[in-house]
Amino acid sequence: MSNDPWGRPITRRSLIQRGAGLALGASAVGGLAACGVGSQKASTQATEKVVKAQVDGNLVYFNYSEYIDPGVLKAFEKHYNVKVTQAYYDGMAGMMSKLNSGNVYDVIFPSAEYLDRLRKANRLLKIDHSQLRNVNQALEFSPYFANPWYDPGAAHSVPYTMYTTGIGWRSDKIGETLTGSWADLWNEKAKGKIFVLDDYQEALGMGNLRNGFDLNTTDSGQLSKTKQLLIGQKPLLRGYSTDTVTNMTNGSAWIHHIWNGDIVNVRNQVKNPEVFKFETAKEGIPIGSDTFAIPTNAAHPGTALLFIDWMLQPENAAKNIEYIGYPMPNKDGYSAFSGLVKEQPSINVTVEQLQAANKYQFRDLPQADLQLWNDTWTAVKAA
């Protein structure tokens, strides 16, 4: 019989009792602590905080990687004598996870439907347009951006980029033309070299469009058909990934479900850019926009405002467009994108498309439907 550190003999009963006590205690403490990590809806008060555009500390920047020109970022640091700490996410869900965990960022880049969701939950600061000298570059680019569906009056955001989703491929491996349909992601010639975006919205949306359904359908029967379609695709796939640029440049991918700007990024990095092509599908082209936003708990919102203003300056916007390959709605900076379009017309995105193609934009879904989408995607990945 052994003794515990306090010299009392250990019996099986005392061990079980103490073990149970510890477990209960831990659960109780955990439960109590959990109450602290609440999910109370934030009040609108926090969103109305008055912020002046001035340096109030170093900037904490949270975005996709490779989605901003590092030169423009460095110039911002030098001009205002601040440091920019960069943090990255690889998808909107990842961004939400970090924000929900209480991480503090000064400027974030949600897509339209996620901006809608954050705005409704009162998690974003109101942006005073008078604080941004260059705000009209974006808002006057088109009336669409002065009052977008996801942010009435553009009160909580400034548009960053516009994008479409399509298919990138290598003409030296597959041929000069594909069929211009989502079915190209099932191309037998490229078996084992096809990637689909590891993003529940993009992947399920693509399946929905191929099946002829609404992009944002919440009908469980239709989603089930899409699920079967995507599961049937798996033998042809090499993987699910949003690391599109790496996959295309290192030769793993011959066909990739990809965003239009990424193809420009790929072409900038390879020795034979003319073989990397991009096409959009006739069944439907998912289209969207990304935005600048400032969370309510940002520690340095003043610097964030200065940063947004900096990015809206036409020279900086033009430089940024050339680096990331996506069009920024910027009155005087947009011409930089036209140059890129001349080389590869299929990457073009216009505001008219954004306005007209409302049914091709991802929408913020209610909780129950979001759960359905996520469960469908989990089923596709686990099959």
Partner: protein
């Protein structure tokens, strides 16, 4: 103050650390596993045991079996690779024993994620391995995004956890036992199976447990080196916490997986206790 009370005080910082960073998060996980989520993905506490029922959905059974299979294969390969290494160092290391063990363990100071990324570079279509194959005239083979890459990555990631316990057991063994086996006309292989192997079996068991348990829940290898059909239970859990925004289901999966692994842990502890009793007897 008695001696045992004095030394018992040293349990306090470790015990506190364990309570704050292990017991409390565990309690939190249990609490979340019975909840649901709101529209932003934050957990709402309540009583929803159906999360646990969802864990045993037939959809996920292949994922669970696959994880156990990969982990079992990883343990086997770690044993096949690790035991000879430990044996060579323990028996024939001589003066260089400690240096050799440090040399074996040193690469594992590098973070596991970074090491797995290195494997992505080595196994990719234009990577090191395919370059070597190309230079001897063979065509390029697809290593990356296959189950073999995942198991290879897992084996490499956990090899040190097999080598060290086995080495410790071999080092503890009295070499006179092996000489005795040879004296009794044992061939090298018979000596090994009848003398060395049973003596070091507890070390082997410890190594197997240290490899199998974390390998079952691993998600890094499958994510970086795997393809669309190498989804493991670790990836499933990560999916729920990250993209799926379904923390309650992820927590329920975690608790069930921990319970499953506890069974093996208890089995190992009882076996070790029994061996210790027999050794003392």
């Amino acid at each position: 103050m008695t001696a045992s009370r004095f030394w018992a005080r040293f349990l306090l910082p470790g015990g506190l650390w364990l309570l704050l960073l292990f017991a409390v998060p565990l309690g939190l996980t249990v609490a979340v596993s019975f909840g649901t989520t709101n529209e932003l993905g934050l957990p709402i506490y309540g009583w929803h045991p159906e999360n646990y029922k969802h864990v045993f959905d037939p959809l996920f059974v292949p994922v669970l079996w696959r994880s156990v299979l990969y982990a079992a294969l990883t343990t086997l390969f770690c044993l096949l690779l690790g035991y000879p290494v430990a044996y060579t160092i323990a028996r024939f290391g001589g003066r260089w024993k400690n240096v050799l063990i440090v040399a074996v363990v040193l690469p594992f100071f590098v973070n596991y994620l970074v090491r797995t990324y290195a494997w992505v570079t080595i196994l990719s279509d234009d990577g090191l391995l395919n370059h070597i194959l190309g230079s001897i005239g063979l065509s390029s083979v697809r290593f990356l995004n296959t189950p073999f890459a995942v198991i290879g990555g897992l084996t490499y990631g956990y090899l040190a956890f097999m080598i060290l316990p086995v080495y410790a057991a071999l080092d503890r063994m009295d070499p006179a036992l092996i000489e005795a086996g040879k004296d009794l006309y044992g061939t090298p292989s018979r000596t090994f199976w009848h003398v060395t192997w049973p003596t070091t079996f507890q070390g082997v068991l410890g190594g197997c447990v240290l490899v199998f348990l974390p390998a079952v829940g691993d998600f890094v290898s499958a994510q970086l080196l795997g393809g669309p059909n190498t989804f493991m239970v670790g990836n499933l859990i990560q999916q729920q916490f990250y993209e799926g925004q379904n923390w309650p289901f992820g927590s329920a999966l975690t608790i069930v997986m921990m319970a499953f692994l506890m069974v093996w842990m208890v089995f190992y502890l009882r076996s070790a206790a029994r061996a210790a009793r027999e050794a003392a007897a």
